[in-house]
Every structure is written in C-alpha cells, then in structure tokens.
Symmetry: D2
C-alpha cells in the first residue's frame, strides 16, 4: 500500500488533455495549470494514485512517478540516460540492495538515481564529476528523494583515481573510458563488474582494446533498441519514428591479472599457450 505523500516527494500530474508535468511537494505552494490552481496541500498527507481537482473543478491525475518517469523529467545539462539503458546497466552490473558502485561522470544524475534505487537501502553509489556545476544540478535533482542517503558526491577528475576500494562495480559514462581502466581496476573487488556507455564505434574499439590489454574478462558489446507501438487495438502498429541510437554498452569483469588468459576475443586455450611457451 502506498504511503501518504510528504514534503519533497515528486508527483506526476496529468491534465485531462494528457499533458504531464513533474512537481516536488512543498508546504503552502500551488501548481498553476491552464485549468486552474492545485494547492500542494491537496496532495500532501494522502497516498498518490488518484484524481485531484483544480479550484475550477477540473480533474487531474496525481501519480507517484516511477524511476523511469523521473529519468525523463530530471532537469538536465547533459543527455540523460534512457530507461531501457539504465535498467539493463543495473542488471548487467549486478546491482541490488547492499551493493557498492562507482559512477563517473555524474551528468544530470539520471544513472545515479537508477543505481541508488537499485542498491538502496544498504548499498552505496559513489559518483564522480569533474564539472561542479553539473554535479550541483544532479544533487538538486535528487535532493528530496529517499535514495539520496545512499549517494556520495565527488567533484574530482577521475584521472587522479577513485577514493573507494573493493567496490562491486564501476560504470564510466565519459568520453574516453579507456584512459581510466587502471583506476577502475584499483577500485574493483575481485570478480567486480565494469561497464561503459559510448556513442561511437571508434570509442567502442578503443575501450575493448584497452580492456583486453588490461586482462579484463567476459567483454561484451551490445546495444538496445526500444520500439514503441501506437497502443490502438484495431490499428496496432509501431510508432512512425524512434530513437535509433543512444549508445553502445560495454561490459566486462575484473579478476586480477590471472584473468589474462580469458581476455581477448578469440579462444586461446591455456594448454595451447603452454605448448607454445615450451618450444
């Protein structure tokens, strides 16, 4: 059962003509709509998931936004990760309650939110960002959410390395991930998960090459395409246009330098290698 809405909670408001907006609840404040005013006090204290009315009597839907909804409504200076990618990254990094994960850069905080949701309540997200103004926006975006307690914010160039050790996963959403793999390796626990999102094929090639040189194992490169359909039962068909590319997703695991024989795209049986070394 949903708990009553509190100060700081985000609310999804949907007008009769299906316009959607996100508001954060504050005492004494009002939402101005073109159908009249909705006082925040009409939303506070009762569970969301219901119809509220403006002072003119026009009904609005008031819903608790999902993490996927929040990703779409966060204030942004940068491209925000899409729900399809955020969800898959969480699963491939094996994030769940109790896990500790490093992320760089913070950007607008979209992935920070998805990670914090996954590791809540007793895990932790350490997020790094070199540009203070970006991280300030991300912090503001997530300030009133309960998951905020699971996040440590670092303003720092990751060239200098990460502060944490033995973390379960590291995700890089930066332009040149291949430059920071030594730092990643130092921070990861044995068996830990590495992930990166890059937009171009050139970057993919550079990351994968660097992962092999470093001895990372189980390297994969994937992309996810989301195709939405017009939800009309008697004329069911895909939407006319779609987002064709958000980025390539690269995942790998780190097991120490002992992993080197398992690194690389080709099968290199250890037995064969041993034979080769003998001759």
């Amino acid at each position: 059962m949903s708990r009553p809405a509190r100060v700081g909670d985000p609310v999804l408001l949907i007008s009769p003509d299906r316009k959607t907006r996100l508001v954060y609840l504050e005492e004494g404040k009002q939402v101005q709509t073109h159908h009249g005013v909705i006082p925040h006090d009409a939303l506070l204290g009762a569970p969301l998931g219901r119809v509220v009315h403006t002072h003119k009597g026009i009904p609005y839907l008031a819903l608790e936004p999902s993490t996927a909804d929040l990703l779409q409504y966060l204030k942004r200076r940068t491209q925000i990760v899409f729900p399809k990618d955020a969800a898959y990254i969480v699963m491939r990094l094996n994030l769940y309650a109790g896990r500790r994960v490093i992320e760089a850069g913070t950007g607008s905080g979209g992935l920070t939110l998805a990670f914090a949701r996954a590791v809540y309540p007793d895990g932790h997200v350490y997020t790094y960002e070199a540009r203070p103004e970006h991280q300030a926006l991300a912090r503001k975006n997530l300030a009133t959410l309960d998951v905020n307690a699971c996040i440590t914010w670092h303003v720092r160039d990751i060239q200098e390395g990460f502060e944490e050790r033995d973390v379960d996963a590291v995700f890089l959403d930066v332009r040149t991930p291949w430059e920071y793999l030594a730092q990643v390796r130092d921070a990861l626990t044995m068996g830990g998960h590495f992930g990166a999102l890059v937009p171009t094929t050139n970057q993919v090639a550079q990351v994968v090459d660097a992962l092999y040189k470093m001895g990372f194992v189980m390297v994969t490169v994937e992309e996810l395409l989301l195709r939405a359909y017009k939800p009309v039962p008697e004329r069911l068909r895909p939407e006319d246009r779609m987002v064709a590319h958000t980025g390539y997703l690269i995942f790998a695991r780190w097991v120490g330098e002992e992993g080197t024989p398992w690194s690389g795209p080709h099968l290199r049986p250890v037995a064969a290698r041993k034979a080769a070394e003998r001759s």
Copy 2:
C-alpha cells in the same frame, strides 16, 4: 568486497577454452571437467572472482554469477525471460527494495528471481502458477539463493483471484492476460503498475483493448531488441544473427475507475466529454 562463498551459492566456472557452466556449492562434492576435477571445497570459504585449478593443474575462472547469468542457466521447462526484458520490466514496474509484486505464472522462475533481487530485502514477490511441476522446478532453481526468503509460492489458477491486496505491481506472463484484469485490479494498490509479456500482435490488441475497457491509464506497448557485437577492436561488427523477438511488453497503471477519462489511445479531454454529455 565480496563475501566468502558458502554452501548453496551458485558459481560460474569458465574453462580455458571458454566453456561455461553453473554449479551450486555442496560440501564434499566435486566438479568433473575434461581438464580434471575441482573439489567444491576449493571454492567454499573464499570469495569468488578468481582462478582455481583442477587436480591436473589446469586453471578455471570461478565467478559469482550475476542475475543475468543465472537467467541463462536456470533449468527450464518453459521459455525463460531474457535479461534485457527482465531488467526493463523491473524498471517499468518500479520495483525496488520494499515493494510488493505479484507474478503469474511462475514458469521456470526467471522473472521471479529478477523481481526478488529487486525488492530484496524487505519487499516481497507472490508468484502464482497453475501447474505444480513448473513451480517445483522454479522453487528448486532458487532454493539456495538469499532472495528466496522474499518469495511466496502459490500453486493456483489465477482465475480465482490473487490472495494479496494493495500490492505495488502485478505482472502477467500468461497466454490470455486480458481474462484476468478484474483480478489484477482487485489486487493492485491505487496508482499500482500492471505489466504483461505476450508474443503475438493479436494478444497485444486484446490486452490493450481490455485495459481501456477497465479504465487503466498510461498504457504503452513496446519491444526491446538487443543487438550484440563481436568484441574485436580491429573488426568491430554486429553478430551475424540475433534473437529477433522475445515478446511485446505492455505496461499500464491503475488509479481506480476515476481514471477512465485518461484511458484509451486518443486524447479525449474531459471538458469536451462533459460538453458532449450535456447536449
């Protein structure tokens, strides 16, 4: 930092020639490989994410499997959900620590596992399956995982309704989801999330139509395509073949019958409807 491996833990073993298998640890047992024997005792008591050796001295990688890995290795009588879909369903149903979710049917337990991972430690998964032998397999698949404590297993035809009330989400992976929407509505909290996975366009049309008739809101139909690349830096290209279809994903929310004006594929402003009703 990873905890030491314990009895019941699943372990991913990777041979030098990249063959992968999953074993569950038991005291005194042995893994037979074509490179020699690995005693389970060599894996118990130390963290995974390292190299172990067979009695012939051949190295194997021993890794903690991720949820995505487990999905691929579960014993199955039915099609198991793909990680891409499981991850996206978890996000779209807004599942996280503390949430309560109903699932039907259990199948081989793949989605049960993904849901339990997401709501762990203080949420709950209530899973329904009409065929006892399927659920028995699913229970066995998840028996030794810590998330098992979050799962209630029901062998029951969902035509008779769900036992729980005020749950945060209901997911139907059954052949005729449209037949059970009254039962879904009775079980969902206000604002709760509905989801379904169906393989054919005919089923999509029937589900969406039924959702509108019932007054569900925010109905979407989507599908996810995962394209894998050969991870070879100097010859980067997609794999030759891919899984072209796993299923259509349908999501909606339930806000009670008050939601009816927001239901349906077309914009139907309430104001316009009122005017129409007056005349």
Copy 3:
C-alpha cells in the same frame, strides 16, 4: 556516358551550404537561389554531374537525380513509398525489362515511377486510382520522364476489377487489400506475383488470412528497417533518430486453385491430406 540534359529533365541542384532542390528544365526559365540566379539554359545541352555558377559566381552542384532522389522530391498528397521499400518490392515482384505490372492505388506516383523504371523500355505499368485528383498529381510528377511511355493511367475503383489479364505482378497499396484478391487473381498470369504494403498488424492478419482462403502460395510477411549512420570517419555512429515504421510488406504467388495444398502457414503434406480424405 551521360547524355546532354534536355527540356523536361529533372535536375538536382545542391548549394554550397548543402541545400538540395529539384527542378525540371524548361527553355528560357531561371532558378532563383539565395546566391543568385541560374538560367536553365546553362544546364540544357550538356551532361549533368558538374558544377554550375549563379550569376554572382557562386557554384552549385547540378546532378541527374536517381530514382531514389526523385521519390523524395515528388510532389505529394499522400505518403510516398520509401526507396528501401520500393527497391525491395521491385525485386520481390520480380520486375524487370519487359514485365507487365498492375498497381493500385497510384497515390503520388512514387511506386509507379519505381515500377516503370524497372520494366522500361518494353514492359508496362497499369496504375489504378479511384481519386482523380491524386492521379492528376502523379501524372504531372512523371510527365516529362522517359518512363512515362510505359505507364497506363486508370481512374477507377478496383472493386470493378482490372482491365488487364495475364500480368506478371499486381501490387496493392490500398487500405483493404483483402477485398480485392478475386480481382487480383483474375488479372495475374499463372505463377504471377502479388504484393501489398499495409501499415498495421491487423491489416496484415486480414490479408494473409484472405490469401490462404484464396489458395495463394509462398506467402511471406516482412518489414525493412533502414538505419543511417553519420558519415564521420572518426566518430562513426548511427543517426540519433530513424523512421521506425513504413509498413509491412506481404508477398505471395498465384498458381491457380491447384495451389491450395501449398497455401497456409503450416506444413500440410498432400499425402497426409489424401489419407485423411480416404478415411
């Protein structure tokens, strides 16, 4: 070697800032650009595929448009077929020099052009359209092209049937293709090709069902997705957005009612059927 440009020829003009337009050459006329004027006479009489200059000395590229280019620049009242679909339809209908094909409806003439290009010089396209104003536009679009000699224009409701017999192929780009299969059958030669383009899954199901009832064989349903890349060597990546759906392509062949045993989606060996009929 390209022949000299003549009155009536279409020309693709590309400005220094990469704006593209299509003009049809007329004696004594001028193209007005924001870089000055280009007289048609400067284009007439010499092969295209070169740089011309405005009266201000600004260079423009003047190219012979390909069929694919023309498809994009035709004046339209209706959605014009995309080059990817037009090309594949031509191949699947097995159209080439000498073939005779019926098309309905004409629309803006896009597919008419692609078909005429394929069957030129000694084949023929018979195109049907119920709305005279659409066909008038299509005729104007193709009026000065050499392929125009291969086209017969019918303004007629195809419910009344087609005038031609023994044609090699019939293509239906209409809303309810399943209503005209008897007419298609009457017009097709034995072994002839049927094709249709429909936007919704509901229409696909209706067409396919009707094809089976009629005894058409080799029924296929396909769709083509074109993914364009940003052609930047050092940052190669797909375009951000793409056309996600143009239509489902249905193809089949007609061999007379003798074909019935080969119709339908399931294997129905004739031997098994005979046995069944005997008992």
Copy 4:
C-alpha cells in the same frame, strides 16, 4: 503472360511438404525426388507456374524463380548478397535498362545477376574478380540465363584499374575498397554512382575517409535490417531469430575534383572557404 519453359531455364520445385529445390532444365533429364521422378520434358514447352506430378502421381509446384529466389539458390564459395541489399544497391546506384556498371569482385555472381537483371537488355555489367575459380563458378551459375548476354567477365586484380570508361556506376564488394578509389574515379562518368558493401565499422571509417580525401560527394552510410514475420493470421509475430548483420552500405557520387567543396561530413560553405583563403 509467361513464355513456355526452355532448355537452360531455372525452375523452382516445391514438394507437398514444402521442400524447395532449384533445377536447370535439360532435355531428357529427370529430377529425383523422394516422391518419385519428374522428367524435365514434363516441364519443357509449357509456361511455369503450375502443378506437375511425379511418376507416382505426387504433385509438385513448378515455378519460375524470381531474382530473389535465384540469389538464395546460387552455388557459392563466398557469402552471397541478400535480396534486401541487392535490391537497395540497384536502386541507389540508379541502375536500369541501358546503364553500364562495373562490379568487383564477382564472388559467386549474386550481385552480378541482380545488376544484369536491372540493366537488361541494352545496358552492361563489367565484373572483375582476381580469383579465376570464383569467377568460373559465377559464370556457371548464370550461364543459361538471358541476362548473361549483358555481362563481361574480367579475371583481373583491380589494382591495375578498370578497362571501361564513363560507366554510370561502380560497386566494390572487396575487403579494402579504399585502396581502389583512384581506379573508380577514372572509370566513372561525371555524376556517376559509387557503392560499397563492407562488414565492419573499421572498414566503413576507412572508406568514408578516403571518399572525402578524393572529393566524392553525397556520401551516405546505411544498413538494412529485414524482419520476417510468421505468416499466421491468428498468431502474428516476428520470427524468433533473424540475420542481424549483412553489411554496411556506402554510397557516393563523383563529379570531378570540382566537387571537393561538397565533400566531407560537415557543412563547409564555399563562401566561408573563399574568405578564409583570401586572408
């Protein structure tokens, strides 16, 4: 109306259990099937597109194969181009009756066939292949087809250049297309079309880069995905698996070195360049 089948014609034979095979007609020969024998003489002299019977009275469908069918049944030493790609390449190279096109390499003759079909009867295909045994197979594949008259076969390393001049299009299906662009340029007419098919992103980057350096214009990079559906009206859904990658298609046009200002991925207005050169 289909003409009577003649010696050398290819025939598609489909058994009652939907097994398909391709035979070339010869006088006095027989097709052995597991339902009995079909003499070629039963097929010669009458139009295809009908049912024939084995000596045991079992019916077989006998159809004229389309170009798309032939592409699937050609004997091969190399990967044969897919119909989706062949069709699109024909359209993007603007091939039609009368056009002259160079192709390298010949491979198994799949694209040679598609090109010859398109330019027949008065155009020509000049096909180059360095490995005599490949071209021998391709020649044999197409030997009895009418389009064979439109094909000139060259066994030659294209490093030495092409023999023809002023051709309308050149298509390279070779491993390193960027090495032969000077030869392409020498052979193309002004405004002529260039195309290439390469499997990896690394090759795409190299081809595109070389095209810009050479001054080619209108450079595009695309790929086509064909998604097939199970043609079952009441359970319409995509096939489970699909071909995920056949190759990247690169197209460009050649207008001489005057075209250089239009080359390159970014807008580079000539006016701006002139100003820069002056200072």
